[in-house]
């Protein structure tokens, strides 16, 4: 893997993310890159389902929100340190996704998609009524929890670097899966699930595994993100528009590729920044995201990477 150029492309992206705000000493740049890192994490993990296996997950934000809740709860109520709580969030959500996936992934294509819409609604309703997690009022973290990391200022930097690491791991995970036999099986499922099953791909187990794998890093990212806010409530944690944006990003960049979601996340973040500052369009953010998605699905299902590959076929060897 180390000999492949793409390995170093990812390393370069991580380095830019890590170094740019330090060199510029710019906190605003850091916050904007932090959001981009979260977008990239969500989109590239969604892409494991959407791009590889051809299964759309409308509720990928559940992983993020649930991870956030577990992490905040373990830190606030149980006094766990950040690293342990975030890891526990990742493992816990991943495990839950696996068990749940075993049941729900018996369903094919569209039925699975329907159930993922329901997952989000149901989990949000559950958390809003779950008293140990503060119900609809949510959970707060005391600022003292920032002390072990060297105070709030330094803690924000540490959280940023951790999120960049999670983003990098997401990209490497996408890459490792794509290069493996497991990934080949997923791509076969995406092309034709019956044919894949006949050829001996354990489709059900593979789908449950990839569903669970796509939950791990978003859950950790959610834990870190809501630790940073020191506050979590159901409406923020299970914000459906973030799920939607992850889909738009993956499709915009090019589903099934690894560069695509990262590129899409960067472009979408730019577009969003522009829309939020524009007087006319600030109310129409979802409308524009929807219109963008429709245009991509109708006219350019390969997304940006599809267009780039078509234009410069040789790039296929460098950019996965």
């Amino acid at each position: 893997m180390l000999r492949r150029p793409f390995f170093w492309v990812i390393a370069l992206v991580i380095a830019v993310f890590a170094l740019a705000p330090i060199l510029a000493g710019d906190v605003e740049l850091r916050e904007s890159l932090l959001l981009a890192a979260v977008y990239i994490t969500l989109a590239s993990n969604l892409n494991l389902m959407l791009g590889y296996a051809g299964y759309v997950n409308f509720g990928s934000i559940v992983f993020f929100g649930l991870g956030g809740y577990i992490c905040v709860y373990l830190m606030g109520a149980q006094g766990w340190p950040l690293a342990a709580a975030a890891l526990a969030a990742g493992v816990g959500v991943s495990l839950a996704a696996f068990l749940f996936g075993l049941g729900i992934l018996r369903l094919r294509g569209a039925f699975f998609a329907l159930s993922t819409i329901g997952v989000n609604e149901a989990i949000q309703a559950f958390v809003s009524n779950f008293d140990p997690w503060g119900g609809s009022a949510g959970l707060y973290l005391s600022t003292e929890l920032f002390q072990p990391l060297g105070g709030p200022m330094q803690a924000l930097w540490i959280v940023y670097f951790l999120l960049v690491a999670v983003m990098g791991l997401s990209l490497y995970l996408s890459y490792a899966i794509k290069a493996s036999k497991f990934g080949l099986g997923l791509l076969a499922i995406g092309q034709n699930e019956n044919a894949a099953a006949v050829l001996g791909v354990p489709t059900w187990r593979y789908k449950a595994l990839v569903y669970s794998a796509s939950a791990f890093l978003p859950a950790i990212a959610g834990g870190l993100y809501f630790f940073k806010s020191a506050f979590i409530q159901p409406a923020d944690a299970f914000d459906l528009s973030l799920s939607t944006e992850a889909i738009v990003i993956a499709m915009l960049g090019g589903q099934g590729t690894i560069t695509g979601p990262a590129l899409g996340a960067y472009l979408y973040e730019e577009l969003r920044g522009w829309l939020l500052t524009s007087e006319t369009f600030s109310n129409f953010q979802l409308v524009i995201a929807g219109a963008l998605l429709l245009v991509i699905v109708l006219f350019a299902p390969g997304g940006l990477m599809g267009w780039i590959y078509g234009r410069w076929p040789r790039l296929r060897k460098v950019l996965e």
Binding site: S128, V287, L293, L294
Partner: protein, 286 residues
């Protein structure tokens, strides 16, 4: 036990309206294997159609039904040509995404115009008393109208030439094409009908409960549950599924807070899908 009985009957009345919404969803699925994610938006559009026609034009609430039906059909046909036509025969992922995108645009526009505040259309009808029980007149009339519309749809699908063409395309599109049925036109017709049914059910729900622009999600989820209960692609089953869901809601409401309803419905959805994974398909294919 007085409360439970009344609650069950009321649940069945309201559930039949959910069944009407689900008939729209299941018709589209049955005819073109597309899951219409603009369903929730269509339901909300029906609600706001009711609101506009009664508040701005001063129509009596139930007079809003024909215009909502016609407008729903027109919008549905338009949506078919914009978002669905190019997706026919492509992987289900694509039509899911395209209808999802249209849903985003519609809900986004609705939010920009009306915000997310609660709207309420006041409908005054005398309640009906039966022994010691009293049922709201609006709920009864909604169920009656639902039954009438379902009856008309049944007559259309089974007694008219065009309806038979719709069923033929649902059964086997290529064969229908071979015997000279203009399948594309039939597909757009079916999509228009599906959206019109969703709009009318939204309008009827609007006479029962207050609503917001974002209400569509919850009712869309209910429609999914209902279609799965009734067997996808089966309009009669959808109506029965709606009544079954209403029954469950009626049984559950006296015992737990309303905010749990969605959790229960979703659990029901998953359990039905997992317990009868083949059943749903077998029912349709047979």
């Amino acid at each position: 036990m007085l409360g439970i009985f009344a609650s069950i009957v009321d649940g069945v009345l309201v559930g039949s309206v959910y069944g009407l919404a689900a008939m729209g969803l299941t018709l589209i699925w049955g005819v073109m294997d597309v899951i219409n994610l603009t369903h929730g938006a269509a339901i909300v559009a029906g609600m706001f159609g009711l609101y506009l026609l009664t508040n701005a034009l001063g129509l009596p609430p139930y007079a809003a039904l024909p215009p909502v039906l016609v407008a729903g059909f027109a919008v549905g046909v338009l949506l078919y040509w914009i978002a669905v036509h190019r997706m026919i025969g492509r992987p289900p992922l694509m039509s899911l995404l395209s209808t999802f995108a249209v849903n985003l645009v519609l809900i986004g526009l609705g939010t920009a115009v009306w915000g997310t505040v609660l709207f309420n259309v006041a409908v005054t009808l005398p309640s009906v008393s039966w022994g010691r029980y009293t049922f709201p007149g609006t709920h009864i009339l909604a169920a009656v109208l639902t039954a009438a519309i379902a009856g008309i749809l049944y007559l259309f699908l089974y007694r008219t030439r065009l309806g038979k063409a719709v069923r033929a395309v649902a059964g086997n599109r290529e064969a229908a094409e071979l015997v000279g049925i203009p399948t594309t036109r039939v597909l757009s017709l079916a999509f228009g009908l599906g959206v019109a049914l969703a709009g009318v059910s939204g309008m009827l729900i609007g006479t029962l409960f207050p609503f917001t622009v974002l209400s569509g999600d919850a009712y869309q989820l209910k429609s999914f549950v209902v279609t799965v209960l009734g067997g996808l692609g089966n309009p009669t089953g959808a109506l029965l599924g709606g009544i079954a869901l209403g029954l469950v809601e009626g049984l559950a409401t006296p015992f737990m807070p309303v905010s749990w309803t969605l959790v229960i419905e979703f659990a029901l959805f998953v359990v039905v899908l997992i317990a009868f994974p083949a059943g749903i398909f077998a029912f349709r294919r047979s």
